[in-house]
Symmetry: D3
Subunit: 295 residues, 6 copies
């Protein structure tokens, strides 16, 4: 994790009234309905008092120490992260554990924490729709449709590029769209092969490897691909399609933050509220530097 800033869009104050946390949560629910979350997930409000005013909202991917410090220092009343803080249930939030430390920091600073995780992956205009849009993938539909949602809701996306490009060129586009992280973009496949049908899943998407193959994708982009799932997928494809692109988990989800911030800001302004909305400038990809054959 390095502290070099990535990007930091900020909506400045307009002087209107501030909403209560309860009201912000109600808008968040419209944007990223909790019913869309996977059954194993733990989304929603983690800390905070619902009757407090929210003047400043901070967005980030990971609820880690640097991010919480940044949010609290900046005077944020609400931190919205993609990843849950307490995915596994806890019996204690004492500060001797790093997660309890964050709970203390947040409550002491009066900053609420909200997680929008697989619900924001699945939602229309969520993580995967943003990713597809930035990569020029069109006519998308979910790789795994939501069980009880709209047709356009669900995990991952499959769609097409307006024209075929080589795998190398598509990888370059991916590289240029994503925020820069040490590990870069790894590709399995033939550089010169033309690809047009693209499957993608922000974050760790190895559970969708089979769905991408079944959807006859030319290439599947996701993060956190380990040796065995990647190797077995390549063998099952006889080293042919779908090719694989493995990107930074953080980077693939960070792209959603500006869009999410803007959507929330717009909804608040529509209701006459004035809230300052910021996106964290901290790179929370865990890797600081990389040595590759090309260096």
């Amino acid at each position: 994790m390095s502290s070099s800033p990535v990007q930091r869009p900020v909506q400045s104050s307009s002087g209107g009234p501030a909403p209560l946390l309860e009201e912000v949560l109600s808008i968040a629910e419209e944007l990223w309905p909790q019913a869309l979350a996977e059954s194993w997930d733990a989304v929603g409000l983690v800390t905070g008092r619902r009757d407090r005013e929210v003047r400043r909202i901070h967005f980030a991917v990971d609820p880690v120490q640097a991010v919480v410090t940044e949010a609290c220092t900046s005077g944020a009343d609400l931190l919205i992260t993609h990843h849950p803080l307490l995915l596994r249930g806890v019996h204690s939030v004492e500060a001797g554990h790093f997660k309890g430390e964050l709970v203390h920091d947040l409550i002491e600073a009066g900053c609420a924490l909200l997680s929008a995780h697989t619900n924001s992956d699945s939602a229309i205009g969520g993580v995967n729709d943003v990713l597809a849009g930035l990569l020029g993938v069109q006519d998308t539909e979910p790789l795994r449709p939501a069980e009880a949602g709209l047709a356009d809701e669900g995990l991952g996306r499959i769609g097409t590029l307006t024209a075929p490009v080589t795998l190398a060129d598509f990888a370059s586009t991916v590289f240029s769209v994503l925020p820069a992280v040490a590990g870069g973009v790894r590709v399995a496949g033939d550089r010169d092969a033309l690809v047009q049908r693209v499957a993608l899943c922000g974050g760790a998407g190895d559970s969708l490897l089979g769905a991408a193959a079944q959807a006859q994708a030319d290439v599947f982009l996701t993060a956190d691909l380990r040796h065995h799932p990647a190797s077995e997928a390549r063998e099952a494809a006889a080293q042919q399609r779908p090719y694989l692109i493995d990107v930074s988990h953080f980077a693939s989800e960070w792209l959603w933050l500006p869009a999410a911030a803007e959507a929330l800001d717009r909804a608040l302004r529509d209701r006459g509220y004035d809230v300052e909305v910021a996106v964290s400038g901290i790179n929370t990809d865990p890797w600081d530097f990389v040595l590759t054959p090309g260096h």
Copy 2:
């Protein structure tokens, strides 16, 4: 739950230095080793920063709103309760849930929370030893010995009174020893029968009904006895021994607080620390009044 004070021993300040929370925890571990806790239990520190000074410690049975408010208002740095706050794991401590509200109150007030539950039941000098001592039950041993503890550690106690008394008289002793609560003391058995061998378990002890019978107790005292376990135990005993005495869960455990406060205070003073130690005066038995045939 009523707010009429029950008892409130307070150790006054002596001017010595204050220990860090970490140091208080270390003493608590000696008094009530966490290894004695049942596998399903969740004991230990729940909120708080280990590097903070502790000037004032507050003891109570239940970590409920009135108790937490009392502790925070009184300026306590540490609240020690018998019952755990987060027995079931949680994914959120937001203040919209009554347990999250308490977490916020405690952290905002800088008051740590420590639970000593089945470890303090089982420990030497713990809940059950205090109860036995106050009732004059001697030569005690555990009803269910600890699996990996000393011979005197374990759940419940079985021992003898110095002389036989009628069941009615023993019940009167129980009634006079316990803090007054609405529900009183319920007895199943023959008022005039003489009892001398006494089994007891502070709190809900129905899992020890069989052990009490096997230990040939004349009477078994515990709390929270429901119809079916009580009825089946009475039938299995053919309405004979062991007779049953059902008391308030809160009352049976409250008795431990002054003893625990004193033991902790003594250990702190032995190390040269000066800490004010108080016992909550709030009755957290949930029942406010009772109508019985005698009224």
Copy 3:
């Protein structure tokens, strides 16, 4: 458990023919359909030969020794109890165990045993409807509707009193309606608060605490409330509504017996049969005496 009689309605003989047990079972099935029983329950015929004549039927809450002796001594051919004898499956009915002893007593005396438990709780005109009727609770519906039953079938009831009364007055009504038992009626809440919307569940109803709150009850009456469920419910309600009334498990279900006896008797007479129907006069609440602050 004391043997002081509670009440004992008896239908005298009219000289008509006696039905076979099989025929009585068929009527019981109409009154308390076994399909309404909870999945964990064990209702239905426990002992007896279906081709035997039934001249005398005895009703009671608990299949305990005193009740079985009473039924057999009185010459009953069928004992109908609310509680099952063999809720947990058995591999033996030898008389060395108190339940096997009852099986021997019943079979030797030619007395069949039938249990109508959660099916009679859930049924229209069953335990909860009788309780609601005696307390003046009107326009009732189930707290937890039966999964595959009629709209009026299910566990617990929620309804309204014709006019608001203080909690203390409602508790007095409860006390006067229930058969007298040692433990009386325990109340959590403000004596002077007015209540009108009443939730209730005869027997142990702590699993319905959440449903009572969600149904916006002013007060929830049930039995066997232990410290933790009661305390957590009071905290979740911030010591406000729903208030709680805890009564004797036995007493809350005994009320059903006369109504059940009458319903069965009427149905038998409608078919031209002459059967003597009695209700047990034995108090099988396990508690014999109580000491309360007021005494």
Copy 4:
């Protein structure tokens, strides 16, 4: 099942006192300790009053209607069967189910029922030792030693014949030793091969097929061998040793009855009691007739 008598040893009365059931059970426990029973088994007393006198004891393999009727008609006070009546736990013993019918018959006739099942299989001098003895198998040890028993206790036996015999001749010996049943004795293997090392397990022993192979048995005798276990064992052995002999489940266990009756009778007489002990003459093998190629 046919009612043609198989054998019926009877010990006649000598005029001594009769033991209580409790005393007979105590002797049975010495002969066939319940601790030797498999964890899934349900052995011990099923019906009966422990304080009743036992003048007549009846032994049989199966607690079925014909056997129970025979025992009750003959005035038996105790029926001892190899197979348990209530192997699966029951919630009812009403007479409409065939097992409840037996419970009623037994209790009405004052006849207790005791099961000695896998404990008598495993015990020294039990089912398998009797079977080995009658077949001339010597120097036996258990195929699966008891986990917490003596070295000679456990399931199945492996031992040697004094001299090699052909498989056909060994099968003839088996046939002549067993009580005649319709299905006879089935053999898988080469008639003319010589066998000397014999594994055996009375009743259904397919779980010991692997143990018999590992113990390098020439032949394994047991009952209830189905197609797949038998076929797989023959394939694993490449159609060589161990050969298999499949006999009647009933027949293989019936052999134990006279020995068990005699052992119990002797022990009772040693204590000065006079009890009439009989072995049932009813063949409870379910098969009545067979059509084979040879007929």
Copy 5:
């Protein structure tokens, strides 16, 4: 298992083209849809390359060594067996285990292996329909209808004979229809009773004993009936109907082979293919000889 031939229908070559394995599988799927297989089953292709030509198909009940050797020696390209080779999942197919040995034999000889098990039991025209047809059982329907199949698909069959016959005569018909095996046909019931309503299940059908009784069968024919299921079924029927007929597992399923071979052959010829189809002449019933009272 003996190698005396049972029957061996062979379709001779006509000179047409050979299908690919893929095409044969597609026809097999129409005849015995895999969706009809039980959830615990493992049907379908076990070894083989789908792009190989199939000139010769061999049918057998069991994929055992003698059968695989016969198929490979005869030059078969595909062996179709009723029983699966790898019902339990394997982590190795090394030849040191008898199943791995078969995998090596098959692959080395270029012979594919296909299993049609519970799908062929359940299918129209499958194992049970063939059995019913040969026994003259008419107007059949499944004993346990397929969950998601046609009305005539499912496990077992129940139907009627054109006229009542004695149980002994029906058993003789069974005996004469089945291929001769050592163990013959075992019958439980009254030889002279008239039977007309017949339930049957090829292979091990004890899970359908209850369904046969509920369908009011006069007699239930199946294989692999062990002592306890048979005995309990006879007791539940009070030794009356349904009577039981226990046959060889192998024999009851072998009957399907010629019909299956013919159906597949016809379907192949309809598509213009020329494939030689044979049925194995090996008796894979594990029993070689039997000793019965009648010998």
Copy 6:
């Protein structure tokens, strides 16, 4: 996966006799005892006949198509891979699935397949010892000792460098020692921090993150680290030690192959056998190229 050769040590033939596969397996068991494998693993022989001669042995990390083709083409009689082919049990090895295709290729070519996986990780001189040796990590002991092995056996290793080096320099050593793969070496931590205590685990070692921290490692090297485990470990360490180095799963295990080949070759020669032993030159890391910020 690219086919550019990495390294290929070959032992040439000396004219001695060839061992049987059985004998090679016996030596492999001494080098990498199967008892050291994790309970979830599937090590040992996967295909092959134990009585065949082995003239040529081929080593590789992954049993993938390119590797199997290389082994079969080169005339290998035995392929030894680190990864199991059938880690999850299979019910079919038909060639339509890529794993079944490999089974067919191997058996048709007469090439056996042996997997030495977590047993070779844990063994003395195994994967982790080789890795430690090449990196100059000394005085090693296991991170998680084997439950029933020698003190030096177990998963992962912890040891020390002869002198402290900067994290950047240590990463350079790692990079230079590993075979070149596209993804290179990723590092989380301060480039200039000095490290000396090194924990490592070839392959995916995230389950040892806690053990590495508890062993007070300065740096932990392993493969397949995903975002969440890496991020949580960095947070738990407050971004301090242990630093993390994430390498190619393939590369970290490939290093073992030459050492394993040499150890096996030496053991075979010690027994007088002449076997040609080769190490695969195929890079089976799934990634073909990478785009990083530095490019």
